[in-house]
C-alpha cells in the first residue's frame, strides 16, 4: 500500500515539475495558462490521491480539496485568459482569431 502511495506522490511531483517547466518555457501567456493549469491540476490530483491511499481516514477532507481544485482551477484560468486577451497585445503567431467577434475592436462592452 505504501509503495502505491509513493508512486502516486512521485507522479504528482513530476507533474508539478512539468507545470513549473511549462510556465517557464512556453512563449506566450495563453500557452502558459494551458500548461500551468493542466499540469498542476493533475499534479494536485495525484498527490492528493497518494496521500489518500496512505491515510484512508482523511478521505473526506481530501475529497473536498480535490473537488475544489478541479472546479476552481479551470475557472480561474478562464477568467485570467479573458483578462489577458482584453488587456494586452495579442500574440503574433495566431492562425485564426474568432474571439475578435465579441471582444475585438473598440465597441467592447
Amino acid at each position: 500500500m505504501e509503495i502505491i502511495s509513493y508512486i502516486f506522490l512521485i507522479i504528482g511531483g513530476l507533474f508539478y515539475l512539468l507545470g513549473g517547466l511549462g510556465i517557464l518555457r512556453m512563449p506566450d501567456v495563453f500557452n502558459r495558462i494551458q500548461a500551468g493549469t493542466k499540469a498542476t491540476t493533475l499534479g494536485a490530483f495525484s498527490v492528493l490521491i497518494g496521500v489518500m491511499i496512505a491515510h484512508p481516514e482523511w478521505w473526506l477532507k481530501l475529497l473536498l480539496i480535490i473537488i475544489f481544485i478541479v472546479l476552481a482551477n479551470p475557472i480561474g484560468s478562464s477568467v485570467l485568459a479573458k483578462a489577458a486577451y482584453l488587456s494586452f497585445d495579442k500574440p503574433k503567431n495566431l492562425v485564426i482569431d474568432q474571439l475578435q467577434d465579441i471582444f475585438g475592436g473598440e465597441d467592447n462592452d
Binding site: F45, L64, I75
Partner: protein
Amino acid sequence: MKYVATFLVLFVIYILLAGFVIDELILGALIAMILTLIIARYVDYKIDVKLPYRLAVFGFVYIPVFIWQLILSNIDVAKRVLSIQIPLNPGFVKIKTELKGDFAKLILANSITLTPGTLSVDIKGDTLYIHTVDVKGNTAEENKKHISATFEKILGVVFK
C-alpha cells in the same frame, strides 16, 4: 424544492469537512438549515428525482473519461514542453454547444480546459470561445468534432 437542494449541498459540504461523527452531524444539520434560509435566494442549486441516475452516469462514465483525457493532455503538454523547438499552431476558435443548463455549460467548459491543447476563454449564449494550441479545422463543426464531441455526448445524458 430549492430549499431542500440548498440544504443537501451545504450538509454534504459540512460532512466532507467534519466527518461522520454524531455530534458533528447534528451541528451540521442545524447550521445548514439556518444558512439555507439565508442564502437560498443567491444560489440556484437544483434537484430532482433522477439525481441518483445522473450521479451514477457522472461517476462511472464521465469521471473515468475525464481522468483519461486529463492524463492525455498532460502527456501532450510534456511533449511540447520537452521538445527543443516548441511546436505551436495557436488560435482562437468558436464552437456551438447544444447543452442547455448553466451548470452543464460550466462543466463542459471546465472539461475543455483540462483536455489536450485547449483552453476555454468565455461563453456567450451557446457559443464557446476557445484557445487551442493546434488549430485543426476551419469551420465550427470541424472544430467541435476535435474538441468537445465526446464530452457533449456524456454531459447530454447527465444534464438532460
